[in-house]
């Protein structure tokens, strides 16, 4: 039989994080609490003598499904705000009463049922080899259909997320030509610090006359104000000839 303490630990570890679905604001927090719920459920499966399902639960749910959810959350933008105004009037209360009602109904009815519990000396444990005999014996056709379903789902996801290209692809040649026609300098910009006495990224390169080339520094560093003008690396006699 299942240990009492284990049951209450599993109940706490599943129900408390699950309530974050109702009360938490950020979707990432909800996803992480659902991961916790899945781990708790895996423990419950192992406690109910289904170790294979417990492992599958960890691998499939916490490992794959919830991580997929997190990937999509990152893709969609973690800071998607949920608007709180109600389009349907009183929907929140109706939903609360409907869900609470079904919960109360189920709990009350289930707690009235008494079932004979199967308790032999060596209970039937859902080890992988035992499950495999059932899966690939009696339910082999279902397994094959499930395989087809998974392939169809994968192809369907690819089709749904595929974006067809509306304009012809621009080749590198065309892009280079357009840039030169627009009057850009055909030569690469010098790297920062190459001809200077200092090879850090925040120091401009010096041209052959010894003057700094300001455009050799990344404009990100310039915007942050993290550049140096290179004056301090010149010999003192030349430093008057350089203006910024």
């Amino acid at each position: 039989m299942v240990n009492d303490v284990l049951f209450w630990v599993i109940a706490a570890v599943t129900v408390i994080p699950a309530t974050s679905l109702l009360f938490a604001r950020k979707a990432v927090h909800i996803a992480m609490s659902i991961v916790m719920v899945m781990v708790g459920l895996a423990t419950a499966y192992v406690a109910l003598e289904a170790p294979f399902l417990g492992i599958v639960q960890i691998v499939v749910y916490t490992g794959a499904v919830m991580m997929l959810f997190l990937f999509v959350l990152m893709l969609v933008g973690v800071d998607q705000r949920e608007e709180l105004k109600e389009t349907l009037k009183g929907q929140r209360w109706i939903a609360f009463f409907a869900a609470g009602g079904i919960g109360t109904l189920l709990v009350v009815q289930i707690s009235r049922v008494t079932m004979p519990v199967y308790r032999p000396d060596n209970p039937l444990v859902g080890e992988p080899d035992v499950i495999a005999v059932v899966l690939f014996g009696k339910y082999v056709l279902v397994m094959e259909v499930l395989g087809a379903l998974l392939i169809i789902a994968a192809v369907g996801a690819l089709v749904l997320t595929h974006v067809p290209r509306l304009t012809p692809r621009q080749t590198q040649n065309e892009r280079a030509r357009a840039r030169v026609l627009a009057g850009a300098n055909p030569v690469n910009k010098p790297m920062p610090g190459v001809y200077a006495r200092h090879n850090a990224l925040d120091v401009p390169a010096l041209d052959p006359e010894g003057k700094p080339i300001p455009e050799s520094i990344s404009r990100v560093l310039k915007a942050r104000g993290q550049t140096r003008d290179g004056k301090e690396f010149l010999p003192p006699s030349k430093s008057e000839g350089i203006e910024q």
Binding site: L21, L22, A44, A50, V65, E83, R92, A98, V107, L146
Partner: protein, 99 residues
């Protein structure tokens, strides 16, 4: 402890998931509510499998997991497609169709 208690736990989790589906506007959060409902059903199946001493319940729970994995893949792809079209994944957006 009687495995029936796990069925009650499954009922509680199921109603939490159902209320999340009914209450939340964010499509991804509502989808997680659906996942929680599927898992609650799985817990009930495994508990019944333990009660009756038969493996069928565990096998069915395994099938539910596989179907749920396929469903998640397609559902999340749909959410991404909707997000590309509307830059929003609120479930209330279709209300604009009323005009």
């Amino acid at each position: 402890m009687n495995p029936m208690n796990f069925v009650i736990l499954a009922a509680i989790l199921f109603s939490i998931g159902a209320s999340a589906v009914l209450l939340r506007r964010n499509a991804i959060v509502a989808f997680m509510g659906v996942e929680l409902m599927l898992n609650a059903a799985n817990l009930a199946l495994v508990a019944f499998s333990r009660l009756h001493g038969q493996l069928e319940g565990q096998v069915m729970a395994f099938f539910v997991m596989v179907v749920a994995a396929a469903e998640v893949v397609v559902g999340l792809a749909l959410i991404i497609a909707v997000f590309r079209a509307r830059t929003n994944i609120s479930l209330d957006e279709p209300a604009e169709l009323r005009g």
